[in-house]
Amino acid sequence: MSDLALILCSLRSRWLGNFLSVALTGFGFMLALLILLFGHHIHKRLSADGQGIDVVIGAKGSPLQLILSSVYHLDIPTGNIPYEQAQIWMKHSQVKRAIPLALGDQWKGQRIAGTTLDYLELYAARIREGRVWKQDFEVVAGAATGLAVGDEFAGAHGFAPDGHSHDAHPYRVVGVLAPSGTVIDRLILTSVNSVMALHGQSVAEDDHEDHEHADEHEHHEHEDEHAAEITALLIQTKGPLAQMNLPRMINKDSALQAASPSYEIARLTGILGVGSQIFRGLSWLMIGLAVLSVFAGLAGNLANRSGDMAILRTLGYGRFRLAFMLACEGALIALAGLAVGTAIARAGFAWALSVSPVLKESGFAFDLSAPGVLPVACFIFIAGLCSAIIPAWKAAGADVSKQLSGF
């Protein structure tokens, strides 16, 4: 009978206590794993969606709201800004690239964003089918919108699905994007002028990429044309210095608001961090309890097992061989806990994806190579091993003669 078989038999003989230790370790690891995976995914998505955007200019209000609405398309915009004023900053010497965003409509809850082709370039988007828009009311649909080339639909006003429908001016899908794992997967993109035209506005022809089709503006729903407005301006600056100076200048010298995505997201994750820290603390507590239970299981049973140890010593097993075998029991419990935790987390993950299409669309993956997973797993394994070391050390130092004489 091999040492491993002996260890497994020993574990099986105390299956209930070991089962509880494995379950505790497993639940602790599952919780830690899911927190790490969610945290990593959110961080990855926030970084990908905010890539290349140094400053966002929008209407005065909450800077976080401005970032969430214009970069991540999660919140309601703070308002609109005059296109004329935005143009001043678009042409500023410290600005490398400026992308206008005109929001305000949606289709079945999916936002319609009026923008320029630079927006596609920003996210390195690829056209999976069709082409980019060339005329007003042509759209390119994100991969997760469910739209196909040739589809026609009418946008609805506002961000609630029951908004007033712009039935007189339907959009036509001319292109569909390949999945990118970024926010544009769930956006419907068109020219700035398309959105403006629906709301009784138009931009000056020289600033409008679709100037050839300016005559179509006659078909506005609203008879009276208002001054052109956009929702936000996404700015890529020429360097770190500009990234610092530009918001200060805009906030000081204009009626507009400038916000930095990196700063606001750092603030947001700081706020959300309290919740995740509580969960993280809970998972560490469970892991700690699991380690204690492994220790209690092995140490508490040592008295009962001292006879077995004594028999093995008389059969030629050395002190350290026995101590190693006992330590292996702790390590195996920890390993089993890790396997169980991974399996439960995998099942929980599959369930979360099945009930939340948003998670699926966002590219949430069960990625065990995510940062932090390996160190936590190593910690649990080492903790399991360490929890067995004290009982193993005691077993190694036991006086066999006394044990054998005591019976």
Partner: protein, 216 residues
Amino acid sequence: MSELLLKAQNLKLDRSGRDLFSGIGEVCIFSGKNLLVLGPSGCGKTSLLHILTGLLPADGGTVEFLGKNYSHISSAALNRLRGQRYGVIHQKLHLISHLSVYQNISLAFKGARKPVNKPMILKVLEELGLRERAFHCARTLSQGEAQRVAIARAVVHKPDIIFADEPTSSLDDRHTDAVCGLLMSLSERGGASLVISTHDQRVRDVFKGQVLEMQT
């Protein structure tokens, strides 16, 4: 002529200020020869067996196996020596209860660093009338069955010396004769020396070999 396997000289073991082995000068175990250590309870028989098997260090004196002094070899070598050359039967602590009879016996081979000889295990169990119990859990055995399995474990890997501590302490006359007969026949067939320590005077009547009497 028999070879001198084990030799213990001038052993000392202090217990409550008293040397348990003051009356013993030298203990020699020759190959194929048996030794009966006889004495009342508490005289130090079990301690002597533990010292001879290297489980307990003496407070003085020397123990040598084939000329190798226990105090000059490493603990790993001593463990190996015990596993390969000795078979030990304890008074009461016979088996590991959560293992099967077969697994308990196979431990003797693992301790001796030898490959497990399944046919040999089953043959010995057959001889002891326990073949059908081979794969039963040790905790389901009666005291007598457990003792016979412990005997099987002590002889199965063909050791040079078999040590048995109080093998008949809880047995009636008939079973005492049977166990002693079994131990002697198995050790004789395996070419091993048998060392029995007991307070049971009945053993003297059936034992063939040298007798060492200890006093309290």
